[in-house]
């Protein structure tokens, strides 16, 4: 069991690193730091919590599903207002709309949705994905209001994704609080059983 879990840890780290490299090559340094950083912090938090005791889906799966739904709506707003090319301007990269859609609207959501199925079956990788999403939303999304509008041309104004950026933050903080609470209760139960 422990060896299998180590394999899953390796898979999660490899996935995070390969995705960061992919982002660096297309979107540039800023998205790579924000999304990649979230992934790595998510892996660390997963390792110290639901890696050994996977979360009970009863409480957290509905919150996770709502978070992904809101995130899809957020990406829709980003797409409609040319998020990819605007980020490319900021970064000096060549991130096109096609690359943005391929990576953020289709490639990543496949793993988010797979994560929901994994979470239902209490699979460790499903738990890694949920941490990545919750951390990413909590720390990555406020950037739409706090960083991008200022960096863009020095004055505070609308930046693609701004209107829907804070809503996934709400569900992700809620989700993390449920994850931690459930993990603590489950740990206490397991210790008491020993």
């Amino acid at each position: 069991m422990l060896n299998t879990n180590k394999l899953y840890l390796g898979v999660a780290i490899t996935f995070a690193i390969s995705f960061i490299v992919m982002l660096l090559q297309t979107a540039g340094i800023m998205p790579a730091i924000i999304i990649g950083g979230s992934m790595l912090v998510g892996v660390v938090l997963w390792f110290f919590t639901t890696y050994k005791i996977p979360a009970n889906p009863k409480n957290v799966l509905p919150i996770y599903l709502i978070t992904i739904a809101i995130l899809l709506l957020h990406i829709w707003e980003e797409y409609l207002f040319d998020f990819g090319p605007r980020i490319a301007q900021l970064n000096g990269s060549t991130w096109s709309e096609v690359e943005f859609l391929t990576l953020i609207a289709f490639y990543l959501p496949v793993f988010w949705i797979l994560g929901a199925i994994g979470l239902y079956y209490r699979h460790p990788l499903g738990n890694a994905m949920i941490w990545f999403i919750f951390i990413g939303m909590a720390f990555g999304e406020p950037v739409h209001l706090l960083v991008f509008p200022i960096l863009d041309d020095g004055r505070y104004h609308y930046f693609p994704g701004m209107w829907s950026a804070l809503f996934p933050l709400v569900t992700s903080i809620w989700g993390m609080s449920v994850l931690i609470k459930d993990y603590r209760e489950e740990s206490k139960l397991q210790e008491a059983e020993k």
Binding site: L61, P62, L65, I66, I68, A69, I70, L72, L73, I75, W76, Y79, L80, L101, T102, A105, F106, P109, V110, I113, L114, A116, I117, Y120, Y121
Partner: protein, 204 residues
């Protein structure tokens, strides 16, 4: 405060009226803005799903073990939409059936992406939560997603028959195999649940 006033007890039939109102409104809006074809493509499966829901899981929620299949259906729909987007589904559809897309109807890549992979899949995921909590609307949506997966899977094969170039690849054909498979399997699971429920009643 009296406990009776703390909750609003919504009668089950209100859900049916709500679904019917939503289907009619969306079909009319679809007809006006995106044309009769897109409206029919969504409206017909929505009515078929309503029929099956009323005759199966309307009175008794389907068990939660359906949820991985439901989320799996959303996943394969996403994969099919990626294929459709990559191979220019909207433009191909307009070329194949131009009679459905004459002015003032507008259907392009942005509208396709907005309706199907973004708003559509987000809605399905929200209703996955509703189903997980065993709400009637969630049970309807489970039927809709499976019927829709079959429709979305089979229509590229139907559209290819109308292509000027003859029967050839139409965007969504490859992913359509997956969506049809998951949709058929999901419907089969739900129909079996109906039999189990019937047996339960007959033994009661």
């Amino acid at each position: 405060m009296n406990k009776d006033y703390e909750y609003l007890d919504v009668p089950r039939w209100v859900n049916v009226l709500f679904i019917l109102s939503t289907i009619i409104t969306l079909c009319v809006a679809g007809y006006i803005y995106t044309g009769a074809l897109i409206s029919l493509l969504v409206g017909v499966p929505a009515m078929v799903a309503l029929f099956f829901w009323l005759t199966t899981t309307y009175h008794q929620s389907a068990p939660r073990r359906i949820i991985p299949w439901y989320i799996g259906a959303v996943l394969v729909l996403l994969i099919q939409h990626a294929e459709q987007w990559h191979f220019n589904y909207a433009e191909q559809l307009k070329l194949t059936l131009p009679q459905f897309f004459s002015d003032p109807v507008v259907f392009n890549e942005a509208i396709f992406l907005s309706i199907f992979p973004f708003a559509g899949l987000a809605l399905f995921l929200v209703f996955a939560t509703s189903f997980y909590l065993r709400r009637p609307l969630g049970n309807y949506m489970v039927w809709f997603v499976f019927v829709w997966a079959i429709t979305s899977g089979l229509t590229p094969y139907l559209f290819t028959l109308f292509q000027e170039s003859g029967i050839s690849y139409f965007p969504g054909m490859l992913g359509g195999v997956l969506t049809t498979g998951v949709g058929v399997w999901g419907c089969k699971l739900l129909l079996n649940i109906k039999n189990i429920v019937k047996e339960d009643y007959s033994h009661a």
